[in-house]
Symmetry: D3
Subunit: 323 residues, 6 copies
């Protein structure tokens, strides 16, 4: 079995999005793509050269194979996917907004094959072949069995010496802040690396300060064994490395026109993990911000970047046009 730099697991859904900023009620055609937070991370990692694997429980039909086939094309190992004949692939309808009109997601993901995955289904031996495990709060929100899966995975990873990153990724259309907090707090505590959005820190954990650095310190007091990242959207991100207690901030790259917002947070997470694994938190912020900025210019959930353009953006050598 290949040895992975990063393993992740979670749900991937069919993504049906409107074109040209149409409202759902106007649309007569929809873009037919797919995505999910953990798969998005796996793709971005593979694109910048890491060996990533994504694991899920997928329905053995045209939709399931479309998902697995495309992930493989982007360089993600999907050989551990558990195939099933019973379930369904979740669907989300994405109405693409343009500020000040919000994009809006209509989830139709209940009873998906992944949400019905249990600890018994999971191919646990794969954990022995990875250096890093990436988990998100979305998987924990899918069902009781998935919550248990995340908890067990975190524990077993640590037992086997695998580092664990955890991205809170709160979804108000999946669960309430109170329930989320109860489930997520132990996970955030035990993770080696915690990634959380400013809004989620406030809504889920009730942490509110005028200064993001204060929020970060409060988070670090409660959560994570090593690293806490607080993402600020267009203001970039802040990180605190518990090994030295230093807080580092890096502004986001300006993106004047948002081609597709969905997946930018996952792109940041992937970039941060990749950069951190390479050279620590400062490099993590650079790569996280760069991949997130590029993702905002790419249609679909996946950050279909090249390693070269990430480097050019960080080094300041990118241009308007290359010819």
């Amino acid at each position: 079995m290949t040895r992975y730099d990063v393993l992740t697991f979670g749900e991937n859904m069919i993504r049906l999005s409107t074109r040209d900023f149409e409202r759902l009620e106007q649309a007569q055609t929809l873009d037919f793509k797919h995505g999910g937070a953990e798969a998005n991370v796996a793709v971005a990692l593979a694109r910048v050269g890491l060996r990533s694997a994504w694991l899920s429980r997928l329905s053995d039909n045209a939709l399931g194979h479309k998902i697995a086939g495309e992930l493989a094309t982007h360089g993600v190992d999907t050989s551990h996917v558990v195939w099933t004949r019973d379930g369904r692939i979740g669907v989300f309808f994405l109405e693409m907004g343009s500020a000040p009109r919000a994009s809006s997601v209509l989830y139709d993901r209940k009873q998906s094959s992944m949400s019905e995955m249990s600890v018994a289904d999971f191919p646990w031996d794969v954990l022995a072949h990875t250096r890093w495990l990436h988990l998100t709060g979305i998987t924990a929100a899918l069902s009781d069995s998935c919550r248990e899966l995340v908890e067990v995975a975190l524990r077993r990873a640590h037992e086997q010496g695998v580092q664990v990153s955890f991205d809170v990724n709160y979804r108000m259309r999946l669960w309430s802040p109170a329930v989320a907090r109860e489930v997520l707090e132990p996970l955030c505590r035990e993770a080696d690396m915690l990634i959380v959005k400013q809004a989620d820190a406030q809504v889920v954990f009730g942490i509110a300060h005028a200064q993001p650095a204060e929020m970060l310190r409060t988070l670090a007091d409660q959560f994570a064994r090593r690293v806490v990242v607080l993402t600020l959207g267009a203001q970039g991100a802040l990180v605190l490395d518990k090994t030295d207690g230093v807080v580092v901030h890096a502004p986001a790259y300006p993106v004047p026109f948002i081609v597709d917002r969905v997946g930018a947070g996952d792109a940041f997470a992937a970039g941060f993990i990749a950069g951190y694994m390479e050279a620590g938190v400062t490099r993590g912020l650079q790569m996280g911000n760069a991949i997130a900025a590029l993702k905002l210019t790419i249609r679909g959930d996946y950050a279909l970047v090249t390693h070269a353009e990430v480097g050019a953006l960080i080094s300041g050598s990118s241009s308007n046009i290359q010819r």
Copy 2:
């Protein structure tokens, strides 16, 4: 309350179909429409001038309102729809084939709002306001509660003097022939008018003869109070009126290029019902065949015909181009 010519009820799903005969695996965009056998019948009836009403249980979200809104635009009364906050709207992916490659439907309709409708939810007083009730085997296949709904509706209709048509519409991806037979036989027996495809007569009821007219007589021996229609696809349709025992056949109108096959059977059913209500079985066959042929040239499930073009096709006065 308005008085309806025909009331029908059933599920309406989001229909996501490939364009230009693409396979699902190739598609990057999908046509975003909706449809369902009973709604298809209601639309065709309204388009040729009958007062039709369609009843269902619909999720109170953008998809549910898209469905109800468009049905209303086509002239169908949707005021009896039961709205719910809990359920989901079923989805089907339609890969458009071209002979000899079959079109293929991938259903994702479990746990839909309609499938969870029960006898208690149904606004039964609407039955008092219609002359005719149209039912299909699809509704009976959705769930136990829907099967009961169909059975009760048929019984209550008869109690109130409402005529009932029943279209078998067997779907192998919903249930097995054996289960279908057990559920459908009593319904077919009690219906005033039975409509059944040749293939379904064979697969579900085990009726096979070289001659369609023989099949029809065998069906008539077992089923329906008044009229049995056997549809033969490109060979047209046969009808037996029990009031005189005569079998009438009418060939289908030639359709050299199929624009969209889905809904043609429902278009026939609507045309047959409308024609029968107007002037008996011969008129029924004329209108059924005409609307079905026109439907095959119209994109989407709905037979968006005009009364004038149906008349022109029947009278032989239609042309290639009107200018």
Copy 3:
């Protein structure tokens, strides 16, 4: 007959717009929509929950029914439309520009059914069923008979105690400033509420000051019984309520990318009217600015907003994405 919150009447045209900022000379396909200032107002009013009715004279053909059908879908009462077999539906070609290249409208609207409507055609009894009548300068520019229609409608509305708003909406491709001024001055004087763009105030009425508030006071000296609104585009809008003489300004919501500019003025007017009817001029400015900003992100003439998103924008609780 229903009782309307707002009644309006005017022309609705087929709108053929280029896609992806193409020039007309490049275009091989055009978006096929429709719109017109008064219908735009009626749609926006209906979308935020008012009972609005739109009245016009429409050709009884596929284009006329497309217009009426879609307005009904958006919640506008079209039952008073006068149908005619003779006329034509006006058309406008819209070349979508991107700054600094202007969008450009090529009107082909002469001899339209609406432009040939006369006082004799108008179903005057509908005035008794509305609280408010909204008129625009465009209708007055269409033809002599339409100008008379506007004048009579304003007078009769007042006779029946109906409030009247008047939006100047000057169109240089319809008439000259001099002719417009002559026709519009009496209408502006008599209206209860006057809405006028800064540029129109200058071009048509010759009112020019460095300070918009001065322009507004000059306008208020001459025009309107109660309320004058001066709209400033990206700078928002100013209002003067004659009941207290106070001038209120509200800045526009930032809209970084204009999806479709056409109809934003009508969206403002609808929002202002709705807000004013609810809670006076300050609420009017809030709702006007909010609906106008959202309209700029929506394709087509119509402000297909939801009441919830208007509220979220005003309250500052809107986000980038809802999921």
Copy 4:
């Protein structure tokens, strides 16, 4: 001034057609092309190598220049077009049908610039520079002034020794058979070459026989100085050359799938004229049928054929694919 093989004049309209066989009521985009019987003939003639000129009265706006520009690209001389600032370019909406559903044209062409052309506007000196003049019944139907234009053109052509072909091209949505007959009979009588569809011969001139050859002889008894062509759609065409009285029939080339029907009659007319000018009526039928068949496979009104493929079709050397 260039010397033309064929001069023709008439109206060219913006053609807005549905895609993928959509109905107008379903369409959200329309194909944006243009065409008109006489321009269609001029294009087909130019494509097979003749020097053709098309003359009209066009509005000096983006639509007018789009029309003239594209005709020039296809090789048609448009230097004699009369430009005007006042008028409008007519429009037609084309709902593309698929048998047995008819395609349908919704004309919006009244008060077009061309329809208001008068004998005084026409640059009559151009007649001295052409060998052949092609006229159609559509121009005669546009307005009184256009009818007069056709009559004068036919007379002056003969005075100057220019041959005249006349294509009846009856349009029921422009005028009644009775009016058409009165206007067209003298024109048909005086034309050197008459081209008429079987249906038009019956509807307009009341000529009905079971045998097309009989119809042709009846037509020849009344009309044309030299040649009469009766077109039979999918059955090809019949011609009678008065110089020898012989009737020749040529079957149409099979066209299994009609890509776009509009303009096929004009393509036939152009091919017949070109072939006749080259080598008489038999060659005329070959070229007429060949260009008409190719036109049916080409989107838009214009027969964008190449001389080589017309030749290959006639010689039987055409294939499925050339590579």
Copy 5:
């Protein structure tokens, strides 16, 4: 190294085809796909379950990786592709015709990376890992070095006991019949299996008979060690197996509407090889005809069939729609 059922090598080009039967001169967008005879065969083989490998020399740029990535998605092994930084990927423009208008290919393939491959570049050890080698006349036509490559590959395959099929695939836009004949005759002689189109047999080898079976026998007298297949387009195919000398004919499956003609010959070849390897020439004809018929309904060069639908077509159990 995996063991392959079939190995093939050749050029794959970017395929830029018109949509909706547009002519190249009309087109403003082109479909962006790729294909090439040998890759087409490899894809079809993989789709019906064989282990196929495709080998080529590809430019290391976005186009080269698009080609290799998609082939891998369809199950073809591309691990032996030779990557180069110098060359270019050939391009072909495909104007999609509709009978009687021919589709037309405009090749722009000179100096492609593959055409510059030499015997020295080829990873010859791969031959030891395959049971079968498939070659075509197109590769032999690309360049002198490619001709030599084909000759050497055929010889070395036989030395290693690998069976060789050869598909003539004459392309008049690449070379003349005389040159082709000189190069191809020795290859056809030595191949174990020869596949040739009726038209190519006549044009290249000068073999003409009224009866295809006679042509086949003449071919068999000169060429191939074991099996000769003569393909007849819509008339199906004939095969002669030299082990028994019997000629078998199988008619083609009817395909009323051709979605995309390109690649149908390669689909037949793949089906024939697969069927022959499984159960001899009769099975070969069945599978060849079935995959070719399905390919005609699939957009693009590749026969994206499923094993199940091939089986259903052969067994006569396929339907219009599966649901």
Copy 6:
């Protein structure tokens, strides 16, 4: 022969660009246009009323005629194009980026018909019919024969009293800075007008100053007989007229959203030349900046502007929408 204001020559390529900011790897359709620096200049000149001619060596196939035909439509004289049966039309794939992701050009232009043009092929007598000759560094980079062509053209132009402008237009994907410098320096020296981008001045000629005006003076010390223009992208442009030594700067017009960046530099060059010919360098800057800004809002390489909108932008009278 017509007398031209400006003659230019160079290569025109097929331009295949992604839509909606897709990456090449995602794209299934491409926009099918064409362009090239010199043709872009010729089009912009013709659009603002100058008589421009473009000369090239073009393949006599559908692509070559598409290019020549469209240039003629835009008013460019293409009568001196040299047609050839042998060569190919170069192609470039354009991946449209959105900041911070760069647009990227993948050239496939080797062995193009134009690149193989030699001094012997060139119709030199055309030089006698033009006032001005425009050359670019791209042509010099195509091949040795093209380099010679540019050198000879510059010399002969001066011999015949024709003014010469030279736009450096460095392309790193065509040649190295060192080779470019060697070839371009003599050309820049002899040109009457030199136009160079800030980045090119630095990369090719090694001229770097903090202040653009310094760079400009350094350039003017070495190059050009009369006028040197240094373009600064979004910062506008600087010009130095050697007749008075004055440096003039003009800021660029703000363009909030870039519809299509390619060709903006050529649009500037055309505007500058046109303005300079009309009224000197200040007018040149105005027109250059205006046409470049408008080009950024127009899809495709060509600046399809109107003279009126250029004037409106310069005079400050342009608006958001004209109606």
